[in-house]
Every structure is written in structure tokens, then in C-alpha cells.
């Protein structure tokens, strides 16, 4: 079987396996599954880089009857990023979710849920069938909601409930769009949809799917579920919730718009979307600025970052052909999403360390931690560099390309939003950083192993390296890049 299949199956099998082994073996089995999935992702990446997009027909059936899995640059890049983050999360969770710390239920529930999330993510990254995507997305949402509820506290349950409501509503909207599409064209395969005869209902279908996906992505004004949910979950869970889960619906959004129905896109809708994205950038930034809890700052930062991805939609096109030096907004946005995933997971993992080792939950508790736990503070700082879009991080590179595209497209106000968002990010991330750096001799922290501190540092460093050595990742992302992304919507 090809790595493409393993990418989906390995975490799924892992999820089943952890359920049947004794509780104390769960982490080891999960780590084994994680290693297998990471290997599959890397092998797939090597294949894609060498041979171009890989395709698998499940059961040998061709669309519209069968389901096709296809790994292009975009999906594989996300899968690799997810594999890195997930491996880091698994390593961190070994400590964070030890039964004596997190409680037996959370310790038990975390591993299968984590592997389920991973399986769902990988499914979404490589699926090309609208309904298959729906199933993947549902699996993802349900596992994610369960992860949020894992802590079992009142806040956690309320947050999970809220999350579930938004997720379900989003699913329904998406499903409605899928149904409309199918009734109009009789197929849900993207390649076939691209070649379809446009129907009148296409716009409505696309609108419904988009709205549903936006609710799941937590785009403003549907972001309210995200911060409490991410803050309530155990830190490793938050890391993947914030870094990866919104990316799944984002990838679907990208696929639907650029690969299935680029022709249905219209300027007005694009501007509505990008307008919401712009508001999200500012709103999320302002909210992050007024938070007291470190996890809420990080969570609202996700709200803001998600806005950038949506802003990119109207900015695409015209890149290589008109401006040979530019990779364009689509690539830039993907790049931004990848580095966001790495940096954001690093941040949540660091916040977890601070909480579990020093009991630090609020910003003011962070005083003196830079001296007590220098590696984790450094990891946070590196991640902050990425999130604020400062060079030489991947965040900068992505934002740079998007801003350039905004100018080329004549939509410079969006570039202004991105600049303002970057400044806001610098401002809200400065608060924890300054607190970390302040002096406090009285701080006392439980010892934290180097490996545990090294995991977030490695993830944050990966986000920086993505910027320093960006040429290779860029050409990788471009593999199988849809024509619509080059020409614009």
C-alpha cells in the first residue's frame, strides 16, 4: 500500500489499538502510531516532490461511483505539518496527560481522540469528494468536541457544547450545499465538478458550503466558540485544536473554491468573505490584547490569524504570469497557514508547560519564567515572531507574498489590514513576553525535562526555518496547484 493510504489508515488503526491495550501502554502505542503516520507523511512528501501528485482510487472504483484520494502539494504539505505537530503533541501529552496529572478519564480519552483527529485531518487533506470531506470533517469535529470536553469542568463542558452547536450547524449548511450540488450535477468528485456544465444553483450551493465551513473554521463572527474551547482543553489538545483543526475546513474551503467551482465565484462574495476576514484579523487582535489568560491570548490570536487565510481569496491570481517574481496570494496563504500551525502548537505546548510546572495561567503569573524556563520562553518568543509576521519566519514570507498580491490586485486596503494585524499581534504577544522577561525571584517551578521543553522549541524553530529556507517548500506547495489559484477567481 502506498504512503497515501497509510497516512489515513495508520492513525485510524492506532486509535483502535489504543482502546484495546492496557491504559499504561496507551502512550507507547499512540506514539508508535504517530511514528508510523509521520513516516507515511514524509514518504508521501518525498513521492510527491519526486513524482508529482499521487492518486489512489479506493477499491479500484472510479468517480463518480468510487472515491478518489489525491495527494497534491497543498494536501501533503498540510499532512506533513500536521504530522510534525501531532508528533510533538504526542510527546508533550505523554507528560501532560499522565493519569496522575490529568485524571484517568482524560488520560484514557485523549489518545484515541487524538489519533482520530489525526486520521480525520489526513482524510480531509487528501480527499477530493465533497461527501467524503463531509464525513472527514464530521469525524474531526466530533473528536475535537470530545477533546474539549475532556477536562470535564463546567467551563469545558459549556465550551464543548457551544463548539458542538457551531460545528453541527456548520455541518448542516455544508451538507445542504453538497446536496444541492449533487442534485444539480450528479457527482461530488471535484475533478468532475470542475468540468461540469454550470447550473443556476451552483452559487447557492457554494454559498451554503462556504458559510458552513466558515462556521467550522471559526471565522468572525462565528469565532466565539473557539477561544473558550481552546482554552478549556488540556494544552496538548489545544495545540492541535488551534493549530490543525481549523486548517481542515480551510483546506476544504480552498478545494471547493479553487478546484471544484472556481467559475461560480463572484467578486461580491469574495469581498464579503475577505471583508469578514479583515474584521477577524482586527477583532481577534483586539480581543487578544484585552485578555488576561495566556491561553485565551493564544486562542484569540488564532481567531485573528484565520482572518488572513480568508483575506487571500480575492487576492489570488495573476501571480506568475504577470509578476514572475511573485508566488501569489494562494501560495502565500498556504505558507502562512503552515507556519501558523507550527507556531501556534508550540505556543500552546509552552503554555501547558507553564501551567503544569509553575501553575501559571494568567499573564501576570508569567513573571520570571524566562529565567526559570529559558528554553520554553525562547520557544514562545520564536513562535511570537512567526505569528507577528516578522522576518525571517514563515509567517513573514507568507504575509509578504499576500501583501504583494494585494498590491498587484489593486486591493491594497487588505495589505493595510495585514500590516495592522501584524502590529496588533506584536502588541498582544508583547504582553506575555514582557511578563516573561520581568524579574521575579520568588518564582518556583517544578523541574521540566529538556525533551519536553525542546518539543515546542523545535516546532517554533520549524516555523522560522520555513521562512529561512523557503524556496523548497514553495516549489513543493506549487505541485498540483490549481489553475484557478494562478489565474485568480
Amino acid at each position: 500500500m502506498t504512503p497515501l493510504i497509510w497516512l489515513v489508515i495508520a492513525p485510524l488503526l492506532g486509535a483502535l489499538a489504543v482502546l484495546v491495550v492496557p491504559a499504561r501502554r496507551m502512550p507507547a502505542v499512540a506514539l508508535g502510531a504517530a511514528a508510523a503516520t509521520l513516516g507515511a507523511a514524509l514518504a508521501l512528501a518525498a513521492q510527491v516532490a519526486g513524482l508529482g501528485p499521487r492518486t489512489v482510487l479506493l477499491g479500484g472504483w472510479t468517480p463518480p461511483l468510487g472515491i478518489v484520494l489525491k495527494a497534491d502539494g497543498l494536501g501533503t504539505a498540510f499532512a506533513v505539518m500536521a504530522a510534525l505537530v501531532m508528533s510533538g503533541v504526542a510527546l508533550a501529552a505523554r507528560h501532560e496527560l499522565a493519569p496522575d496529572k490529568a485524571g484517568a478519564r482524560a488520560a484514557y480519552g485523549f489518545w484515541p481522540l487524538m489519533l482520530l483527529v489525526w486520521a480525520a485531518l489526513n482524510t480531509v487533506f487528501v480527499s477530493r469528494d465533497l461527501f467524503n470531506l463531509y464525513v472527514g470533517l464530521e469525524l474531526l469535529s466530533l473528536a475535537a468536541v470530545a477533546l474539549v470536553a475532556l477536562a470535564g469542568s463546567r467551563e469545558a463542558l459549556a465550551a464543548a457544547m457551544r463548539y458542538l452547536l457551531f460545528a453541527l450547524t456548520g455541518s448542516l449548511l455544508y451538507l445542504a450545499g453538497v446536496v444541492l450540488t449533487y442534485s444539480a450535477h450528479g457527482t461530488l468528485d471535484m475533478a468532475m465538478l470542475l468540468a461540469r456544465v454550470p447550473a443556476t444553483g451552483d452559487g447557492v450551493a457554494l454559498g451554503l458550503m462556504t458559510a458552513g465551513l466558515m462556521a467550522k473554521t471559526a471565522l468572525f463572527p462565528f469565532h466565539v466558540w473557539l477561544p473558550p474551547a481552546h482554552a478549556a482543553a488540556p494544552a496538548p489538545a489545544s495545540a492541535m485544536l488551534s493549530a490543525l483543526v481549523p486548517k481542515a475546513s480551510l483546506v476544504i474551503l480552498l478545494r471547493v473554491w479553487f478546484e471544484a467551482m472556481p467559475d461560480a465565484a463572484g467578486d461580491a462574495a469574495l469581498l464579503v468573505m475577505a471583508g469578514l476576514g479583515a474584521v477577524a484579523v482586527i477583532w481577534g487582535g483586539v480581543q487578544a490584547l484585552v485578555q488576561r489568560k495566556i491561553k485565551l491570548v493564544i486562542a484569540y490570536s488564532t481567531v485573528a490569524q484565520l482572518g488572513y487565510f480568508i483575506i487571500a481569496f480575492p487576492l489570488t491570481g495573476g501571480d506568475s504570469a504577470v509578476k514572475p517574481w511573485s508566488a501569489g496570494a494562494w501560495t502565500g496563504m498556504v505558507f502562512l497557514a503552515l507556519s501558523h500551525g507550527l507556531a501556534k502548537s508550540a505556543m500552546f505546548l509552552v503554555a501547558g508547560i507553564w501551567y503544569s510546572a509553575c501553575g501559571a495561567q494568567e499573564l501576570r503569573d508569567l513573571k520570571g519564567l524566562a529565567r526559570a524556563l529559558p528554553m520554553s520562553a525562547f520557544a514562545f518568543a520564536l513562535a511570537a515572531v512567526t505569528l507577528a509576521g516578522l522576518p525571517p519566519s514563515g509567517g513573514f514570507t507568507g504575509k509578504y507574498l499576500m501583501m504583494q498580491a494585494a498590491f498587484v490586485a489593486g486591493l491594497w486596503p487588505f495589505a493595510l489590514v495585514m500590516v495592522a494585524g501584524g502590529l496588533l499581534a506584536a502588541a498582544y504577544l508583547y504582553r506575555p513576553l514582557a511578563a516573561l522577561f520581568a524579574k521575579d525571584e520568588a518564582i518556583s517551578c517544578a523541574p521540566v525535562s529538556r525533551v519536553r521543553q525542546a518539543v515546542p522549541l523545535a516546532l517554533a524553530a520549524a516555523a522560522i526555518i520555513l521562512g529561512v529556507l523557503s524556496a523548497e517548500p514553495f516549489s513543493f506547495i506549487k505541485i498540483g496547484k490549481p489553475d484557478a489559484a494562478v489565474e485568480g477567481l
Binding site: 516578522l390 514570507t397 504583494q404 495589505a415 502590529l423 522577561f437 524579574k439 529561512v468
Partner: protein, 491 residues
Amino acid sequence: MNAFLPVLILMTSLLPAGVIFFIPQASHTLRNTINIGAAVAKLALVAWMLLAVAGGASYESVLPLAPGLVLLLRVDALALLFISLSATLWLLTTIYAIFYLGNKAELSRFFGFFSLCVAATTGLALSGSLISFFLFFELLTLSTWPLVAHKQDQASLAAARQYLMFALPASASLLWAIIWLESYTGPVLFTDPPDLSGIEPWKLRTIFALFIAGVGAKAALVPLHGWLPSAMAAPAPVSALLHAVAVVKAGAFGVVRVVFDVFGASDMQALGVDVPLALLASFTILWGSWRALDQGEVKKRLAFSTVSQVSYIVLGAALAGPLAMVGALAHLVHQGLMKITLFFCAGIYDERAGVKKIEGLNGLGQAMPWTSVCFSLGALGMIGLPPLAGFVSKVYLGLGAIEVGAPWVVAVLIASTLLNAAYFLPLVYRLWFLPLGEGVEVSAQAESGAIGLIAPAVVTAAASLGVGLLAASAVSPLGWASLIVARGYLE
């Protein structure tokens, strides 16, 4: 080899930075060896390159990032001017800092960021494209922050915060300008100035203003100068770094790059932005000096003096004539030498005599003669007393101003000279002519055992005399600046 050299010279400070972070606090010898070894290696490399570049060589390394993001490192005469300044002063400041900080806390963090800061400055100087300039410009911002906040007390953190509050919006402005411009022209390489002919003038003017706002905050152009005086809360070696080696110099250097290698002098004049820039620089020169008069703390007075002096460089760039440019580039080095001397000395006064306020300087000349002679030389040089370094810059700036038909600049220079005298001479006077203040106890051995602090100051003070005295020789900063301008204008 040629493609390797610029990277190598960057690595001489980048690698130590990476290593030093992980050296345990107690391993002084190891840390100091790496620090000084790297600085010496860099200096040697720079010296070797100076010879080669004087002979017409140039070196280039390209690291393509994403499309449009060309990381280009290039050693040319202008880059070398800045690098040789920063490399020399880095070595001296490192020695000074080792003795200044002694056995204080978090030395590895300090020296790690210190080296990183110098690496950023080096990269900035070497940048051959606008975007690589921006990369290192930001790296500089980020690596300086922990240095400013190093003491981790309230004042330092506030200063560091203020620094970012100016630096980050400025970076945003710079980025905005870069992207806007490059959306028309594609990636801008300094060797190949972009063709601006197709772009509407108002857009170009706005872009220019954004550029200047971007680099101007680092260069402490009024009204973007507020961070600099507060940043004196940092330890003295950091102030030296900020004021003489890295940060404000990076801003001034940026102005030079923007004016000459992005817009070009003639385009700038055609757009009519040269006079506003010159006016802004002039205003900064006067305002900085003005505010310096009122400062009761030695380091604050020096900081406002920097605000004023760095704008000489901006002024020279704005005037854009060959002679003014020579003056500006020479001043880049001259100001660095003089100001670092002053900050070294201010640090010694603080460290050895506990003196922060200018009243405290009273009578220190007798107790601390070496320091005070160096301080006096630096101060007199700042005033522009011949034959110290400041005089040479002023002459060339003045000549350049008249050359391009802006004789009013001479009046600015004169007014600035008078103001400089008004705020520096009282300090010198206090040192030598007033009795020690009531209840001030300065041991007669205040300078003994401080050779590591005094020696760097003596070297820079002697250098600021030397570069003025031998200004006409080809190896002086002035000579090198003339070479740069001659090459630039011949192309």
C-alpha cells in the same frame, strides 16, 4: 570563494550568537574567548576585504527564498564602511562589556543577543536587496529588545517596550513601502536601481515617505526619536551599541540606501522630496540639540545628542550631492567613534563613581583623568572642534550643502555647533574646573583595575582624533567615503 565570503563574515557573528546562548553562566573563559575570538576573526576578515575591495573586488552571495524574496549579500565599498565600523566597535564594546558586566546575571543571554545584534548589523550592511535589508532590519529590532530590557527592572522593560512601540510600526511602514514599490518594479537590488518612470509621482512620494518613516524611527528622526532617550536605561555597553554601532546607524544607513540605491539622487530631487527630508533632518538636528540642553542625566544628554548627530547623516543623504554624501558617510563612522567614546566614559563614571547626573561630574577630571580626557575628546569632537572627527564631517556636509544650492544648511550646521557647544562644554567644564560635589567620595583609585573599561575608550578617543587628523589620507573614513562616492558617481 567569492560567493562564500559575505556569508562567512555574517557567520563570524551569527555562529557565536548561537553558541553563546548555551554556555553556562559560570564558564566565563569559554564565553569570553568565543566572543573576542569571533570579533577578532571578523575584524581580520574585514581588514582583508578592505584591501581587496579597495582594489576593485566585490563579493556576492545569493540565497533565493520564496519568489520575490532574494536574500542577497554583497560586499561593496559602502557595506564595508559600515562593517568595518561595526566590527571594530564590536570588538571594543565586547571587551568593555566583559569588564562592565563582570559577574552579573544572565551573561550568556546578554552576549548571545549581543552577537546576534552585530550579526544583524552586518547582514544589514551586506544586504544587496531591499528585502534582505528588511530581514536584517527586523532581526536587529528583535535582537536589540532583550538587550535594552536586560536589567529586567521596571525602567528597562518600559524602555524596551517603548523601543518596540516605535520600531515595529516603523518596520510595518518600511514593509509597506517595500511591497508597494516592488509591486511595480519587482525585487529591488541595490546594484540595479529600479526604473521608477512608470509610477505616478504621488505614489512615489508616499512610498518615499513610508520608507523614511520606516528607517527614520531607527535613525531617531524627530518625531520618531522618543525611544532613544528612554533606552538609556540599558547597561552602558548596550547604549554604546544602540548609539554608535548598530541601531541608529542602521537607520541612517537605511536612509542612505533608500536615497541612493532605491530612488537615486536625481529621482529623489525630481520628486521634490529631497528638501522636505533635509528640512526634517535639520529640524531633528536642532531639536535634538535643543532638548539635550535640558537633560540632567549624562546618558540622556548623550542620547539627545545622538538624535541630533545621526541626522547629519540623513541630512547629507538628503542633500544628495557628492560632497554632502562624503560628509554623511564619513560622519557615519565619525559619530560612531565619538559617541561610543562618550558612552564608554559615561558607563565608567556610572560604574566606578556612581555618577549619573551631570552635577556628579564635578571635579572628576582629577580623580579619573583617563576617562575624563577621553570624554572631553569625544565631547569636543561632537562640537566639531578641529581637527577632531566631527569637524571633518561638518566641513564636507557644509561644502556639499552649498554645492547643491542649499546654503541654509550651513546655518543649521552652525546653529547645531553652537548648541552642541552649549550642552557639551558645561560637562567638560564640570569635569575639570569645578570642585568635587559635596559629600561625593571618589576614591583616587577609581580608575585602577578598570583598564578593561578604559582601554576601549582610549582607543576610540584616539581614533576620533586620528581620523580627523589624518582625514585626507586614503585609508581614513573620509578617504573611504570619497572612494564610495567616486565609484557611485562614476557608475
